[in-house]
C-alpha cells in the first residue's frame, strides 16, 4: 500500500488558502459588477435622486430654458436629451448654456438661452448630483426613466 500524499496539516492549509483566494476573487468580481459606490447625505446617491425637486419649462419664443430648484438637494448639473423624429442627442446643460458652474443650490433658479432646432419635439431633463466616493467628489446622473422631467415642445 503506497503511503504517498500530503499530510493532513498541509492539506488543511492548502484548502483554507484556496477558500480565501476564491472568496477574494468572487468579492472583487462582485465589486466590479456593482460599480463605484457614490454617496450623498450618508446614503447611496441613487436614493438621493428621489428627493430632488425642480420645476422646468422651455420658452420656445424666447429660446429660454428655465429651471427652479425647489428642493433641498443641490442640483450640480443637468443632462438634456433632445429628441427629434427618429433621433436624439444628449448634452450637458453647462456645455450648451450659461448653467452656473457650482450648480443650483436649494431655492436657486436658472434661466438661460438654449437654442434648439426647429424639428425638436421634446426634451428630457435629468438631474446630475455631486456625491462622494472612495476617490473623492464624483458626479452621478440620476436615472432618466425615473427622475427625468419631460418637456413637450
Amino acid at each position: 500500500m503506497g503511503k504517498n500524499g500530503v499530510s493532513p496539516v498541509i492539506a488543511t492549509v492548502l484548502l483554507v488558502a484556496m477558500v480565501i483566494v476564491i472568496a477574494l476573487i468572487i468579492f472583487l468580481w462582485f465589486r466590479g459588477l456593482q460599480g463605484e459606490v457614490i454617496t450623498k447625505f450618508g446614503q447611496n446617491i441613487e436614493l438621493t435622486c428621489s428627493e430632488v425637486e425642480f420645476y422646468a419649462e422651455y420658452d420656445a419664443s424666447a429660446t429660454e430654458l428655465r429651471i427652479s430648484n425647489v428642493g433641498n438637494i443641490p442640483i450640480f448639473g443637468m443632462k438634456v436629451k433632445i429628441e427629434q423624429p427618429g433621433s436624439y442627442t444628449t448634452e450637458n446643460l453647462n456645455e450648451i448654456s450659461s448653467w452656473p458652474s457650482r450648480g443650483l443650490g436649494q431655492g436657486a433658479a436658472f434661466s438661460g438661452a438654449v437654442v434648439l432646432d426647429a424639428g425638436v419635439e421634446r426634451i428630457v431633463l435629468t438631474p446630475v448630483l455631486m456625491g462622494t466616493s472612495d476617490k473623492g467628489a464624483k458626479t452621478f446622473v440620476c436615472d432618466e426613466r425615473q427622475f427625468g422631467q419631460e418637456i413637450i415642445l
Binding site: 446614503q43 420645476y55 420658452d59 425647489v70 433641498n72
Partner: protein, 170 residues
C-alpha cells in the same frame, strides 16, 4: 483549530464588507418641513411707476417659519419663476429683523423659526434692478431644523409653494 479561526475571521470580514455596502442603501431621513407649513400674501401694492412692490406676508400655517425664498416671473405666460427677489428686498426698520441668507429672506434671528402662525411681515422690494414688469411671485417657506444635531436651513418645497399673481396697482 487554525481552520476554525480562519473560517470565523473570514465570516466576520465578509459580514463587515457586506454591512458597509448595504448600509448605503438604507434610506436616510432627508429633512423636510412639517405638513401644514404655509405662508400667504395678505396684501400687496405694486407700484409699477416707481418699480416697487409692497408685500404683506402672513403665516397662515400651523408652524413657525424661519424665512422664505421669493422669485418672480417676468413674462405673462411664464410658469417657472426664476427672477430672484430676495436680493432686491429693502431692509427697513419695521420692527421685524429681516436679513438675506442664501438667496432667501430670513425673518427674525437666524437659527430660529420666529415668524409664528398668524404673524405678519411687511416687506418692500425694489424692482428697478430687474427692469421688467413682474406678473407673479412664488414664495416658498423655509425653516431651521435640527438633523443629526446639526441645524439646517430647509426649503419647504413644492407642497408649500405659494403662487400669487400681481398686477400694477399704481
Amino acid at each position: 483549530m487554525i481552520g476554525y479561526v480562519l473560517l470565523v475571521s473570514l465570516a466576520i470580514v465578509m459580514a463587515g464588507l457586506l454591512y458597509a455596502w448595504l448600509s448605503g442603501w438604507i434610506p436616510k431621513d432627508i429633512p423636510d418641513c412639517p405638513e401644514g407649513t404655509s405662508l400667504m400674501v395678505k396684501d400687496y401694492t405694486y407700484d409699477c411707476t416707481n418699480q416697487r412692490i409692497f408685500l404683506t406676508i402672513a403665516n397662515n400655517g400651523r408652524f413657525g417659519v424661519g424665512g422664505y425664498f421669493i422669485k418672480a416671473t417676468t413674462k405673462e405666460n411664464q410658469t417657472v419663476a426664476t427672477t430672484d427677489l430676495a436680493t432686491p428686498i429693502i431692509l427697513q426698520d419695521n420692527g421685524e429683523d429681516v436679513a438675506i441668507f442664501e438667496n432667501s429672506v430670513v425673518i427674525g434671528p437666524p437659527n430660529e423659526n420666529r415668524f409664528l402662525p398668524n404673524n405678519e411681515t411687511p416687506n418692500v422690494f425694489d424692482l428697478s434692478s430687474i427692469g421688467q414688469q413682474i406678473y407673479r411671485v412664488d414664495i416658498v417657506p423655509a425653516r431651521w431644523q435640527k438633523e443629526d444635531n446639526r441645524l439646517r436651513y430647509i426649503i419647504c418645497g413644492e407642497d408649500s409653494t405659494l403662487k400669487e399673481k400681481v398686477t400694477c396697482t399704481t
